[in-house]
């Protein structure tokens, strides 16, 4: 009965109810997007960092991995010291640089990562295999396209370019043995991977026994924090960064988006709340006579309140369900805009859908719907019956 009465009231003004639902749908879409934005970046970045199971990064003191050209010396000694630690399962040294490949009268330049194929954590092979021999290389699809090469081809690559002499340095012949998806590279960024010793040799004396950063994987069950502390004591000239502290740094750099998400999410919720409150209040005012008649024939005050609250909740719920679908569509569009941030890894999503986000948005909207019905229902249930009946009758 309660549901039928609420439905009849909403159906009486179809256009109005539909518009309110549409308004709530847009607010719900925005709210879902903002909930996704506030948590998506963090989850996405965490997933990315832990994609290959390395929980700790070691970079030159005061820097982040590959944030500057600084490198770490005595790399072999540091790697041995790290591997000797009881709670360390794997150590992956990485040297960053550039590779220039002269092709058909032009030069194709790519970001180069020199590493240990057995322990590397920067890429996933999609075709072929990892580069193990000194003359082997794995490349990204974008590089292959730009250089017009295929897996199995051989290329000549240089690690340096002297602009004054206009000459390449550290030239080598390398064989492409695999295609790889580079986890931390921006979309369309050309990248190649080759053995660490090869890249060090190509870069010359300046890179001898040097790396840009290390990645460290702690043993299963070991405390990452205690491994981190031990590393900081053993290798004081590097900055040890755990996944959590890296996320904190990213949070700090991108705090703008979290705050924007909070503000816009709050505004969306407030707009939805105001819309439903206005609609239900006007609806109650219009049928005060009807409400007092119900009260006069013995319908309990609680029942009247429930019916009005139900109307507000129904509008909010219907709008929210439509809004969640709309929100997913708009999130995709907004994500495609933010994905074009220069230098942002292609795997990072600003709007990452997780079911708990949808439940959170739905929960907030339903709560707002219930709250929106409280004032008009209180007003409807507390009008004096006799006086209102008389006013309605006289007009």
């Amino acid at each position: 009965m309660l549901f039928r009465l609420a439905w009849a009231t909403l159906a009486r003004h179809r256009a109005r109810t539909l518009l309110a639902m549409l308004g709530v749908a847009v607010s719900a879409a925005m709210l879902l997007d903002m909930v996704m934005l506030s948590s998506g970046m963090r989850s996405s970045f965490k997933n990315l960092l832990l994609a290959r199971g390395f929980q700790i990064r070691l970079a030159p003191k005061g820097t982040l991995p590959l944030d500057t050209d600084a490198t770490i010396g005595n790399a072999a000694e540091i790697a041995s010291a790290l591997r000797a630690m009881p709670d360390v399962a794997a150590v992956s040294p990485v040297l960053g640089g550039q590779l220039h490949v002269p092709r058909d009268g032009r030069t194709v330049t790519a970001t180069a990562l020199g590493g240990d194929a057995q322990w590397q954590g920067d890429y996933e092979i999609t075709d072929g295999r990892e580069p193990r021999a000194p003359d082997e290389i794995a490349t990204s699809d974008d590089f292959l396209r730009a250089a017009n090469l295929r897996v199995g081809d051989t290329l000549s690559a240089a690690a340096g370019y002297d602009p004054q002499l206009r000459a390449f340095s550290g030239m080598r012949r390398l064989r492409i043995v695999g295609r790889a998806h580079f986890l931390y590279m921006a979309a369309e960024q050309r990248a190649v991977a080759l053995p660490l010793a090869t890249l060090q040799a190509m870069q010359g004396e300046a890179a001898r026994d040097r790396v840009s950063f290390f990645m460290v994987r702690a043993r299963q069950g070991a405390s990452v924090d205690s491994v981190l502390r031990r590393i900081e004591l053993a290798v004081p000239k590097v900055s040890a960064i755990s996944t959590e502290s890296a996320i904190r740094q990213v949070d700090q750099r991108l705090s703008y988006f979290r705050q924007l998400a909070f503000i816009l999410g709050t505004v969306s919720l407030a707009v939805g709340f105001l819309l439903v409150t206005t609609l239900v209040t006007v609806s109650v005012n219009e049928r005060l006579g009807e409400i007092v008649v119900m009260r006069a024939i013995g319908v309990a005050r609680g029942r009247v309140v429930s019916q009005i609250v139900l109307e507000g909740t129904a509008i909010m719920l219907a709008g929210a369900v439509a809004g969640l679908g709309l929100g997913l569509l708009t999130a995709r569009y907004l994500n495609s805009i933010l994905a074009s941030f220069p230098g942002l890894p292609a795997s990072i999503d600003f709007f990452l859908f997780e079911p708990r986000d949808a439940w959170a948005a739905l929960g907030m909207l339903v709560a707002a719907g219930i709250l929106a019905g409280i004032y008009p229902s209180w007003r409807g249930a507390s009008v004096p019956i006799a006086m209102t009946l008389r006013e309605e009758a006289v007009g």
Binding site: A15, L19, P163, R166, R253, L254, V271, T330, I337, F341
Partner: protein
């Protein structure tokens, strides 16, 4: 004799003593100064690597960052040194990363005769010195990519907000007009034309829209003050994060007025298209009309 020797040392007139060198000076980023508690005149040791051997320098000034969007998210500190001193400190030799060239006054950016700047760039790029010349404008565009993306994101959010506002406004107008269905019915029965009623509702809608947009602009302006104060503090930059320009104000008011008028028109037409008696009683008259009966 001893006093003369001291005086001579002070005046650096004895060849066997090392020549007096004025202390090297550096300019320190005010963020670094604040975080590290550095004061003017303090002596610092600057080195190429952490903990490595370095030079002692004196802090001669503090510098404030420019309002450069490309630097906003970067939390690094900066120190400005004399070129030769930095080259010697980092063992860079007689090299540098870039030159900045100031074009002749009549060849400034935006000049109607940009060809001389272009030809200068072509000449530099053509010379075999391994240089690559770029226009400052092109570099600015390249380094502002981040903010261009943010700007596109804001525009998309703005479109969603406009859609939500339009629906909200239409809904409110519909409710307002619906509330007065009896008044409208009485006016219609008195002989007031549907056109006059529509016009009066539209005037009311435009007043609501204009007043609402003025209040909105005021709230927006206060919000920009809070946003700029907050983010300038967070990122420690003089950059303006939010601005209410006359163009934005004009756009917001025009859009609000257009949406208000549209909402008023739709709501009014919906009301005046119903028979007055139906509006008055709230019941639909389903009886066949006399003409139809015949």
């Amino acid at each position: 004799m001893f006093a003369a020797l001291l005086a001579a040392v002070a005046l650096q007139q004895i060849d066997s003593l090392p020549a007096h060198r004025a202390p090297r000076t550096v300019v320190v980023d005010e963020r670094l100064a604040a975080d590290a508690g550095v004061k003017l005149g303090d002596q610092l040791i600057v080195s190429r690597t952490p903990g490595g051997a370095g030079d002692t320098v004196v802090v001669s000034a503090f510098m404030r960052r420019r309002a450069d969007p490309s630097e906003v998210a970067r939390a690094e500190y900066r120190v400005r040194m004399h070129l030769g001193e930095l080259q010697s400190l980092i063992d860079y030799g007689d090299r540098m990363d870039r030159f900045a060239l100031l074009s002749h006054p009549e060849q400034r950016e935006g000049s109607a005769l940009p060809s001389l700047t272009d030809s200068a760039i072509r000449r530099i790029n053509g010379a075999a010195f391994g240089f690559q010349a770029h226009r400052s404008r092109d570099i600015a565009v390249e380094t502002s990519q981040t903010f261009l993306v943010v700007s596109r994101f804001h525009r998309a959010i703005g479109v969603i907000t406009i859609v939500a506002s339009a629906i909200f406004l239409l809904c409110i107008m519909l409710l307002k007009v619906d509330e007065r269905r009896r008044d409208v019915a009485a006016l219609r029965l008195m002989g007031i034309s549907a056109q006059s009623i529509t016009r009066s509702v539209m005037v009311e809608a435009s007043v609501v829209a204009v007043v609402g947009s003025v209040v909105g602009l005021l709230i927006g302006w206060i919000a920009t003050l809070i946003i700029n104060w907050h983010y300038r503090g967070v990122y420690r930059t003089p950059l303006a994060f939010a601005l209410v320009t006359p163009q934005i104000a004009f756009f917001a008011m025009t859009l609000s007025l257009v949406l208000g008028l549209l909402a008023g028109y739709v709501a009014a037409r919906r009301l005046v298209s119903m028979p007055p008696l139906e509006l008055l009683t709230g019941r639909r008259d389903d009886r066949p009309s006399v003409a139809a009966a015949h």
